[in-house]
């Protein structure tokens, strides 16, 4: 897990140190001539780890309940959908199974001295294929230009455009219509196989962004051909990745087949992926797995106890790989909900640090977490916004830096502290004319019972601990679709469980929901871009008379300005993050992903990266004969970690 940044560090130092370094590739050396001699070696599949056998039939079966709404990979940001797209379309850069950056569609790349201009050599001979497997055309530099042209057009409603337009020169201006000439935007095809990006400002993490959907390519001719129907069915997109979607019948089934002509086909082992739709997938999935019908299934939280207690089933489950999504309870500084719940009272209370801290220490996170993670919930707790092991510098994990360490190592729940802060808050708030109990509005999505359960648990736990004379908790149900729009984005909540996923390999990404406001040039200047908990509305000032939001933003800006010394940069970000946790703007809650799966896949064969789509690819994975047990999982994990360390050490 460690050292991901050690490598980044090497790269960054390399180009800031003015030489334009070329990352060369092993694969590129496989010229046709060598291929003939190497065939045996190549076709010889990697031997499976000890105790694990690969299945004879490399076919992956699964059931799913969440249907994808579109195949337009330039628009969607849903993990569910990206999970498919990642297998259809390759990105410029990719990650190997240890999380080392490797060439993808770009065979080599470099940046200029300033770190502003990046040049990519596109791998020659890679083709686009139709859903029938027919060749459509070459993948060229222009495909990346056409893609940005598409996503930077607000009419197309791309949900991932913002990640790209904030970093690409004139991207946001073009998106907002201030620049109308696309040639002014920082993306150019120098020739058929040379692509050049120009950035708005140098950022140390640009490469890592390239493995995200914002930088997927598209064939312009094809796009013109299909027009508005792009991505509405499996034959209205083109494929340059390891798999082709042979069948797409929404609410029925989808079938992915290996693209035999894929440029890196030797590393694709699973021949076919079959997905069967079932609205009740989570209920009957485990049963189907037991009957041998499917290859992988998440064990729902309600059933995990029963599986763990059953001698036979116990060996079929293993922990799922955690994601780098972070979940936290946000305290809303700009409440905008029904008068019936006294938003103005909450507004005063939330600007009181002791009030916030009473909630911060009062929330029993384990109790809440048990609703979704009944088995070993402790393993899933997250004490910081940035998850552990996301990045590190100088041999130190980010969460262990400076003031952040204190929070990373302690559980926020402390009933004694909570009650102390409560007393202080009552005194101070009564002086401000607040009438107790203060209403705490917790909205939840009716999409799953787990959400409702968690809301009820939190409601009763907080009320019982802090007393109903202090707070009155209201849990309000909202339909799953449009949930965040109706609640968080509208400020329609007091306390809400929200999440955030990283867009690139830098702690800056976890500061964005709080610190990012629309720029001066925008008509919405000064308001929150991501609409999380609107800390810009706070009226609270610190002991020096500075508004606490301004204090936080200046801390973040200072960290952002540090683009050379990564360790210093991270330390500064860690201080900023510690500041808002200490101020209890949010209550860190849990890591993403997780739970338990029964699976015939080995997660340590998979490509790995905390951000981007690389880890969603099936390339490199095998279907196993038997499901992996927890024991095997931990053994493999240890082995993987050791190997990874070695790889990163070598790179130093």
């Amino acid at each position: 897990m460690k050292k991901i940044l050690a490598m980044m560090l090497v790269l960054v130092l390399a180009f800031t140190g003015c030489s334009s370094k070329t990352v060369d590739t092993d694969t590129k050396k496989d010229t046709a001539a060598e291929n003939t001699t190497k065939t045996e070696v190549k076709s010889e599949e990697p031997a499976p780890p000890e105790g694990i056998t690969y299945a004879d039939k490399q076919i992956f079966n699964s059931v799913y309940a969440g249907e994808i709404t579109t195949l337009n990979y330039l628009v969607s940001s849903s993990t569910n959908e990206l999970g498919l797209f990642a297998n259809f379309v390759d990105t410029l850069v990719d990650y190997d199974k240890y999380g080392v950056i490797i060439p993808g569609l770009a065979s080599e790349w470099s940046s200029d001295e300033s770190g502003l201009v990046w040049t990519f050599k596109i791998r020659e001979g890679v083709k686009w294929y139709t859903s029938d497997g027919d060749e459509y055309g070459d993948v060229t530099a222009n495909d990346f230009v056409d893609a940005l042209k598409y996503t930077f057009n607000p009419d197309n409603g791309s949900k991932t455009a913002n990640i790209a337009y904030k970093v690409i020169k004139n991207g946001e201006a073009y998106y907002n219509g201030e620049v109308t000439d696309f040639s002014k935007v920082g993306v150019k095809a120098i020739d058929k196989y040379t692509l050049e990006y120009t950035l708005e400002k140098a950022v140390p993490y640009f490469e890592s962004m390239l493995s995200y959907a914002s930088f997927f390519p598209i064939n312009g001719d094809f796009l013109n051909e299909v027009g508005d129907t792009f991505g509405t069915s499996n034959d209205t997109i083109l494929y340059s990745g390891a798999y082709i979607m042979e069948t797409f019948e929404p609410q029925n089934r989808r079938v992915l087949v290996k693209n035999e002509n894929y440029w890196d086909a030797d590393k694709v082992y699973i021949e076919k992926l079959k997905y069967k739709y079932n609205k009740e997938a989570s209920t009957i999935g485990p049963e189907l797995f037991l009957r041998g019908d499917i290859t992988q299934v998440n064990i729902p939280s309600g059933a995990i106890d029963a599986w763990m207690q059953d001698d036979k089933k116990k060996d079929m489950v293993r922990p799922a790989i955690a994601s780098y999504y972070t979940y936290f309870y946000a305290l809303n500084f700009d409440p905008n909900y029904d008068e019936a719940y006294n938003p103005e009272e909450w507004r005063i209370a939330v600007n009181n640090q002791n009030f916030r801290k009473s909630l911060f220490h009062g929330l029993n996170r384990i109790a809440a977490l048990t609703t979704g993670e009944p088995y070993n919930p402790e393993n899933k707790l997250g004490n910081t916004i940035t998850p552990k092991n996301f990045v590190n510098a100088g041999g130190l994990d980010y969460t262990q830096m400076g003031s952040l360490k204190k929070f990373a190592d302690t559980d926020s729940f402390d009933s004694k502290l909570a009650l102390e802060y409560k007393e202080k808050a009552i005194k101070e708030l009564e002086a401000e004319g607040v009438e107790f109990p203060v209403s705490v509005v917790i909205p939840y999505s009716t999409g799953s019972t787990e959400n409702a359960n968690r809301a009820q648990v939190v409601q009763q736990q907080l009320t019982t601990l802090l007393g109903d004379e202090y707070i009155e908790v209201f849990t309000l149900p909202y339909p799953a679709s449009g949930f965040t729009s109706n609640t968080r984005r509208n400020g329609n909540y007091g306390l809400e469980l929200v999440n955030w996923g990283p867009d690139y390999a830098d702690p800056e990404t976890y500061s964005e929901p709080f610190a990012t406001l629309y720029p001066e040039s925008d008509e919405r200047a000064g308001t929150s871009r991501y609409k999380y908990n609107f800390p810009e509305s706070t009226t609270q000032v610190d002991e020096n008379g500075n508004n606490i939001f301004d204090v936080y933003v200046s801390m973040v800006n200072e960290a952002k300005a540090e683009t050379i010394d990564l360790q210093k940069r991270y330390e500064l970000f860690a201080e900023a993050e510690a500041y808002i946790i200490d101020q209890a703007w949010i209550i860190p809650y849990r890591l993403g992903g997780g739970g338990y799966v029964a699976s015939k896949l080995n997660p340590f064969e998979s490509q790995y990266s905390p951000f981007g789509v690389a880890s969603l690819r099936y390339k490199g994975q095998h279907v196993l004969e038997e499901p992996m047990s927890s024991k095997q999982y931990f053994e493999e994990q240890a082995k993987w970690q050791a190997e990874r360390e070695e790889v990163f050490n070598k790179m130093k």
């Binding site: 309600g302 059933a303 106890d305 029963a306 609703t371 009716t446 019972t449 359960n453 149900p477 339909p479």
Partner: protein, 318 residues
């Protein structure tokens, strides 16, 4: 009802001559037929219905008094252990009779709380049906000008599948008890209205009523003697049937995701939660208990309602 006529030898000793009594002669045409007694008699003959009537009465009583009985848990309280963690998925025990659910709530009390919700919905829908049905039905019957319009409305509503109307209304309005009540009431008043309309027309047109009126019987007497029994029996029937229907509709809407919010204990929510454990034998009690109670309630009300409907139909009185 075959009445086989058999000719037997006539025993003359069985007969005697009646004497003429002018007083009794005046009583001609009088019968001691009482509608309610006959209804009761017919109903009591149906043993299963009588048993179920007891069940229904007990159920009604029980759902009302259950929260006040000793050792009952709150249906929404999350029960926690000494460390403040939820007592999840406890199997049935002397403390939690039907066990606890995945967040430690007492399933036994949730079932009764859900039943109260459903009974409330059912009764409210029944009463709305009554009020709207009688009101619209009377106008429909009396005001001849409005007849074609109401007939068209009736035709349109009865032509659309009830399920679809239910879905449409529940989809448009906010999820909640009120929405379910509205969605059910929109279609349900029609049959009551049609029934009342027919009654009104009977008053207006039937020969025996006409004759009765000619003989000077006041209208209220016709209404109370000839019509009220009909009306009351239909009301009872519809009220009884509204309850299984309310439960069914709520379960259905909850299943498709536009029912009651999850934090309101209701039979639909209980079944939906229990459904997740259908493939987990050790937790299946979370589905079995609610479905068992629900089935007893719906079947009792359904059979009892129909038996009463049959009994109160004068055609079945001999």
């Amino acid at each position: 009802m075959t009445s086989d006529v058999k000719t037997e030898k006539i025993d003359k000793s069985l007969f005697e001559f009646a004497e003429y009594d002018s007083k009794n002669a005046e009583l001609i045409g009088y019968s001691n037929y009482s509608y309610w007694r006959s209804t009761l008699q017919v109903f009591l003959k149906n043993k299963i219905a009588v048993i179920l009537l007891f069940v229904v009465v007990l159920l009604l009583l029980f759902t009302v008094v259950q929260p006040y009985l000793p050792n009952q848990h709150s249906p929404i309280k999350i029960n926690v252990d000494a460390d403040g963690l939820q007592l999840r998925n406890l199997p049935p025990s002397s403390e939690y009779w039907f066990g606890t659910n995945s967040i430690g709530q007492d399933i036994w009390s949730r079932i009764w709380s859900g039943t109260r919700t459903s009974l409330f919905i059912g009764l409210t829908v029944g009463i709305i049906e009554l009020i709207v049905g009688i009101f619209v039905g009377s106008i429909w019957g009396y005001v001849r000008k409005l007849d074609p319009i109401i007939t068209e409305i009736y035709n349109v509503i009865t032509n659309i599948p009830t399920t679809i109307i239910l879905i449409l209304i529940a989809y448009i309005l906010e999820p909640g008890i009120l929405t379910i009540i509205i969605a059910m009431s929109v279609t349900r008043w029609t049959s009551m209205a049609r029934f009342v309309r027919n009654l009104v027309i009977i008053i207006r047109d039937r020969e025996y009523n006409l004759a009765s009126r000619c003989l000077g019987t006041p209208l209220h007497r016709i209404a109370s003697k000839n019509l009220l029994p009909y009306l009351v029996s239909v009301i009872m029937l519809r009220l009884a049937l509204a309850i299984p229907l309310a439960i069914g509709s709520e379960v259905f809407l909850t299943y498709i995701g536009i029912g009651l919010p999850v934090d309101i204990p209701s039979l639909g929510n209980l079944i939906n939660e229990g459904r997740m454990f259908i493939m987990t034998p050790s937790l299946r009690y979370q589905l079995l208990f609610p479905t068992a109670v629900l089935s007893i309630i719906t079947i009792s009300f359904y059979v009892m309602g129909n038996a009463f409907g049959d009994a109160s139909d004068p055609k079945n009185h001999i």
